[in-house]
Amino acid sequence: MNNNVILSVKNLTKSFGNVQVLKGIDLDVSKGEVIAIIGPSGCGKSTFLRCLNCMEDPTSGSIFFDDVDIADVKVDINVHRRHIGMIFQQFNLFNNKTVLENITLAPLYIKTKEERKKKLTNFFIRVTNLFKSKGSKKELLNVIPKKKIVAEETQKAMDLLKKVGLEDKANVYPSTLSGGQKQRIAIVRALAMDPQVMLFDEPTSALDPEMVGEVLDLMKNLADDGMTMVVVTHEMGFAREVASRVLFIDEGVIKEENAPKEFFGNPKNERLKEFLSKVL
């Protein structure tokens, strides 16, 4: 297996009741790749994307992320999801939190929890140290104070917000933002977790045409910075320009997969030809 492969899907199937939506999909995503997934509605492309971080549990098959099969129920999925960012069509910013809180909530919670665990370990080390001779005492773990974590994460969030030009919105609630701003903040929220892969589920479908551009620009910048991305989209322009590979999913299988130039210029699959003639 190529060492660069970060996400590897093997024979993935997904059924809802008796309806089989995904009928065996294989895909390898290498570091830095931008994969665009297109297809008619109801073809299973969103379901496929949601399977990649187990928001939908796959019916069968495996998904290797960092060489761990995250489709396995025994794996603690929360740990792996922290490295897989996900952007939703409906933004899904937390309505009861300000923009800054939206961004820092998860990293703060996860980091302070780790520190709490360390403190508990330290306590046990101290207790066991009581029974040890002076030379063999175990060293305590270094606990970062909560204040420092809060300051760091706030700084990081503000830096990211500055990057997307929304630092003045840090303390407002999401309900006051436009769709484009919400989506950019959703992207920042995912970035604050330092993800290795980012999944985009039709990120511009719920936006006004005017605002599509600002979100796509941000995604282009991300791609240029070398972020690995899997994007379900209806924006053919984006797929053609930014993607390194384009996938056409129909009837639950990948019907065609190629570099964008070849994919759009010389489609081979009949269904894809028909689809492209309608959307282009």
Binding site: T98, N171, Y173
Partner: protein, 247 residues
Amino acid sequence: MSIEQWEVFFKTLSTPFYKEFVLRGLFITLKIAVLGFILGVFLGTILALIQVAYNKNVIVKILDKVCKAYVALFRGTPMVVQLLLAYYVLLPLMSIGNVNSETVGIIVFGMNSAAYVSEIMRGGINSVDSGQLEAGRALGLGYTITMIKIVIPQAFKNILPTLGNELITLVKETSVLSFIVVSDLYTSLKTLGKEIYNLKPPYIFMAVIYIIIVLIITLIIRAVEKALAKSDKKSGATAKIKAVKKV
């Protein structure tokens, strides 16, 4: 009704004994209603959370059935019957002596209220967009922590007016506490009425007091609602800016 009747009533009411008696009754009414309500919200939230649990394993499924039975039981019988059963049947059966009848009142009120609150809460949790939970989970937060930090606060905001209804109902229902010899507002004023051989003034007076209590509760709930609605309005943002600038 003549003025004299009211004069007699207020004269008796202002005697130190009855003044204390009625004020105590008022205090007991409020105490049992509020403590019962708090217990009800706490228990009801747990009942609701079990019923909306996302991971339906065998234990959760059994608990789910237990919750449904609990709700059916407590909604299916009048509060008076529950009080009587608890005080005169269950307590002797469990041979626990010397239990304060007020405590029994609080527990029964809480358990009764929990059945209603659980249904309110369940509706509230379901009213929160499922995307909120998904977003939390996608960030790698667990189910429980996402519920606590994201979903329940939003659900709580949605159901606040209905929860207010529940508190108001509880305040008024305290009048049935006389069945287990608790001297609440109703009982104390009724006793006063018997003392002066005239029940008309006390009955009117207690109606007025109940209305005043309910109005005050309504005002409090409105204020809380307003405070919680800050995330819906632009004006709420300014208050927060000051707080964050210090960091």
